[in-house]
């Protein structure tokens, strides 16, 4: 069977589901961040596949922007995690209940 758009979309869906499972299941902030990266990458794969099979290059430009924004987001997020760890000595979501009523 020839590999078409639906094959790539299936991989993208499964990867997105994996990232979402990680965000919900894991309790470590850094691993949650890695799962977020997986979800972003799944979206990138879907965009590149659509761009290829619709004969439009715009999807790939959008992926380029997503990669840039993701890099900025990771740097700010990790700086936040380090600042949080300095104050609380923990990177676990269970220990970060300061805003709980």
């Amino acid at each position: 069977m020839h590999v078409g758009l639906e094959h790539y979309l299936t991989v993208s869906f499964l990867l997105f589901a994996l990232g979402m499972l990680g965000v919900i299941m894991r309790r470590n902030l850094i691993v949650i961040y890695m799962s977020l990266e997986l979800m972003l990458n799944a979206a990138n794969l879907a965009l590149v596949a659509f761009s290829r099979f619709n004969n439009k290059l715009d999807g790939q430009v959008l992926v380029f922007f997503i990669i840039t924004v993701a890099a900025a987001e990771v740097s700010v997020g990790l700086a936040l995690i380090v600042a949080l760890y300095r104050r609380r000595q923990s990177a676990h979501v269970e220990d970060l209940t300061g805003m709980k009523l």
Partner: protein, 167 residues
């Protein structure tokens, strides 16, 4: 089956397998192991990009993600003391809730995958550096400039956030 089809299945299996090992590794709960498997996931995804003729994006994926983002992750893991992670168990209700929500969103996705008309005619688009650069500097100049401002803002934000006394 053509060679590209076989390569697609190889890279897809590598991507998904390493993705599973990022999240639930039965042998190690160390975040460094997760980061290493994330590198493998990203590299095999760059292989998928090459199969989709997105050569420039495959290079950018390896340079930016495997080269910069993962190094940043490893630096932060090195800064924090994450020995405690190994002792904590995955909560069973978190696992069940995750599986439920992920299963429902996957059902939603695949239902739409079957119902949309897939335009898989004859793909001819080539994601070379030249073609992508031409589009980036003609149709997408404004987003490009905005992204440069965003990177500057992120840089200043990170410097501010990582000062010693954050008040």
């Amino acid at each position: 089956m053509e060679l590209t089809d076989i390569l697609f299945y190889v890279f897809a299996a590598l991507t998904l397998g390493c993705g599973v090992l990022v999240i639930v590794n039965p042998f190690s709960r160390n975040p460094v192991t997760s980061a290493m498997f994330l590198v493998l996931t990203i590299i095999s995804m760059a292989g998928l990009f090459v199969l989709l003729h997105a050569f420039f994006l495959a290079a950018v994926q390896i340079l930016v993600y495997a080269g910069a983002v993962i190094v940043l992750f490893l630096f932060v893991i090195m800064l924090l003391d994450l020995k405690e992670e190994a002792r904590r168990k995955i909560k069973i209700y978190g696992f069940v809730a995750g599986l439920l929500s992920v299963g429902s969103i996957l059902a939603l996705f695949f239902e739409n995958l079957g119902s949309t008309p897939l335009d898989a005619s004859t793909p001819a688009v080539e994601g070379t550096t030249e073609a992508l650069g031409k589009l980036l500097f003609t149709g997408y100049v404004l987003p490009f400039e905005v992204v440069s401002v965003l990177l500057l803002v992120a840089m200043i934000g990170v410097i501010l956030l990582s000062r010693k006394n954050l008040e």
